[in-house]
Symmetry: C3
């Protein structure tokens, strides 16, 4: 858990950061959106991996939304317009997903349906690469990933400026081997690309790490807090993607990405205090997602570069 | 949680209901069946969705049974006669399920194997509709669903009388938008249809809601109790379908459906008292499924229309 | 939970057993390996069933490793050499698995990658039998199973000596109907067969039961302890297979199989003491996997025939 000081002083970060004030309008927007999720129980549907599909649904319910899961294009397209947002996670692929996900992403784009992409394990396997490259033509509204995945997606979509000096180590399984700071440029490039293709001309990228990053392509927010125990349960990132879709159902992309990540940071800190290992941590985390108030979410640590 | 009074007085229900007495033979049957499950640890196999497959298995084990899960027709048919019952849930379909489920349902019917259907999200997607319509020719012994799904299945199977005035709003995701009372006629029609095709000429339909409904086509029971937290975890209904199959392995359809639903109502009330959110609720619920006694199950609130 | 005495005196076992001493070198090896897992967080990838895939990943993380899950041959082969070990579990098969698992097992063998097989439900269904028979040509490094599954695999691979008098009852779902003692000969035969084909000429078989068995084909260890509650949650065996792969990433097969099983026995005893049913048992079990020390693992009950 970083503070402003140790973040600014760490090797990880050399950018100057300021705390977003309690009276900054973005905090009130976050509070209102968190309230709206509780009041409206918005439906977000998911096409997500088999490892963490249960946690994604339970996290969406605990955060105040409603969940529906499917792997058939016709199911997803049938519900797309009833859903406030759709979530796609490319974790555990089956052979038929390439065609299914192309059909789904094309439908979502054509019908101006907002969706969140979690490019899990981007860079591993030809099928995943082909699917992720295919999304360039029908892009999501929000990308939620770790640093290595953001860098890999940035490469796959050829978004690098020619003078880019960013280098990364490539994927090593599903864990990030790159730091969030290494992915700042990639995250901004991806967010700007998404915004160009978004029906509302707005988009966001959220990169999870010890200190999370959220950007709409212009402003870059950093979110300290959270708990290292989130890396000791499977599905912390996947379920954040699902909850981001729940929030996107009632908010613009930047505020949705910020609110969901701030909820996760507050809830995981509470869970860490009340747990004795990863089993009780997950139980306490779901309880905290349910009990945290909109005011607590809006007051979470938030820095602006 | 409804009582007899507020159920009779609510807008939801206008039918006259009486509490089933402590000495009614059905309560003793329920007690015996709950005891038998504990003593015999019956095996019920499942073909169920990926979201809640783990909870289905854990709930069956906690209720006293044994679980086996598969998606291959040959696996299911190999085990069908060793199993006391089979459970089929159409939540997250894969492309090959249409042929697989037709083969399975046909085998189960021909070999007079009892099975429980959960028509999750009935009405959404062409593949699901085709599968559910196909079950009309090889029907289950018990249908366990929410009100909207019961109404959708009733439509798909063309069971409505011509003078039927029932109307419903159609599906909205996996949550019911119709009340249990709206589904009374549909539930009775389905139960009667199932009974006509059942090897034992008996069948049941269980419709879950704030006050559950269970019918064999003649008698209509209402089951108040339970906990609203059951709607804040994923798989409450799916796992009830699985546990209903566990009970069906040792009981007739009506008593199986009643016993499983009463167990769920008792256990979820206990879980609500001991939990602080959906995470601890699910943990306490599994503990309660394990600890509730046959006597407590048989004494749960039970009304007869 | 058996002691040396009641194991030796039980009907189940007629072999003479001695406790492995506190100063036996194998206990120091186990302690070092348990320490290495904590320090190196090794990556083990899994191709495993849908019921318990979440618990497999969470158990690997709680035990100190890192997890990655996939069902595509190209994903698995891409990561195989980055992974210390691969885990394959044949629980819930899909139609495309036969070709996928043949391709994967062939790749792992050719590239001398170590892997753990859990032959769940061996003997049920033609597809599973065909897959398991196919592994004879490209065998794993460790087999982790229950007694019935070990006996079924022994049959499928035609490893029985002609004068073998072992008989077993065949599969009955996913639970073992045979005792661990009945599988001693089969376990040794399988371990010797695996060792002949192993790049390191070493292998192991772990048979879980009331008293576990672990053998490298020469020595036969018995591991009393554990908790009967492990049979009341789904995935105890599956996740032990995954954690065995985590340990195999940093240890030779015998020590990996012993360490993982001893960790499970210690953790499940702790969980039983702190829980009130299968829900809290699973939570406490994951916490205990995380909190148990290398010294406690190395000191767990361990007998040698």
């Amino acid at each position: 858990m970083s503070t402003v000081d140790n973040l600014n002083n760490s090797n990880e970060s050399s950018v100057s950061l300021r705390e977003v004030g309690a009276d900054d309008p973005i905090r009130e927007q976050i509070r209102q959106v968190a309230t709206a999720v509780r009041e409206q129980t918005p439906l977000a549907q998911s096409f997500t991996n088999f490892v963490t599909i249960n946690l994604v649904a339970n996290a969406q319910l605990a955060a105040g939304g409603t969940a529906a899961m499917s792997f058939l294009p016709n199911d997803i397209t049938s519900l797309a317009e009833q859903c406030g947002a759709t979530y796609i996670n490319v974790g555990t692929l089956l052979p038929f997903y390439r065609d299914a996900l192309q059909e789904i992403s094309e439908h979502l784009s054509r019908h101006q349906c907002q969706w969140v992409l979690d490019p899990v394990a981007a860079g591993i396997g030809v099928a995943r690469t082909e699917i992720l490259k295919g999304f360039k033509d029908y892009p999501p509204t929000i990308v939620r990933s770790n640093a290595s995945e953001a860098l890999a997606l940035h490469d796959m979509w050829d978004l690098a400026e020619e003078d880019s000096s960013e280098e990364h180590q490539g994927p090593a399984g599903v864990e990030s081997v790159d730091s969030v700071d290494q992915a700042i440029g990639a995250a901004k490039d991806i967010a700007n690309y998404l915004a160009q293709h978004s029906p509302t001309h707005t988009a966001a990228v959220a990169v999870s790490g010890a200190v999370d990053l959220v950007t709409d392509g212009k402003r870059v927010f950093r979110l300290p807090g959270g708990s290292a125990m989130m890396t000791k349960i499977t599905g912390a990132g996947c379920s954040l993607g699902g909850v981001t879709a729940t929030y996107l159902a009632v908010a613009d992309p930047l505020v949705a990405a910020l609110s969901a990540s701030m909820l996760y940071n507050v809830a995981s800190q509470i869970a860490q205090r009340h747990s004795h290992g990863p089993g009780s941590f997950q139980v306490e985390f779901l309880d905290a997602l349910w009990n945290v108030t909109p005011e607590e979410i809006a007051a979470a640590p938030l820095l602006l570069a």
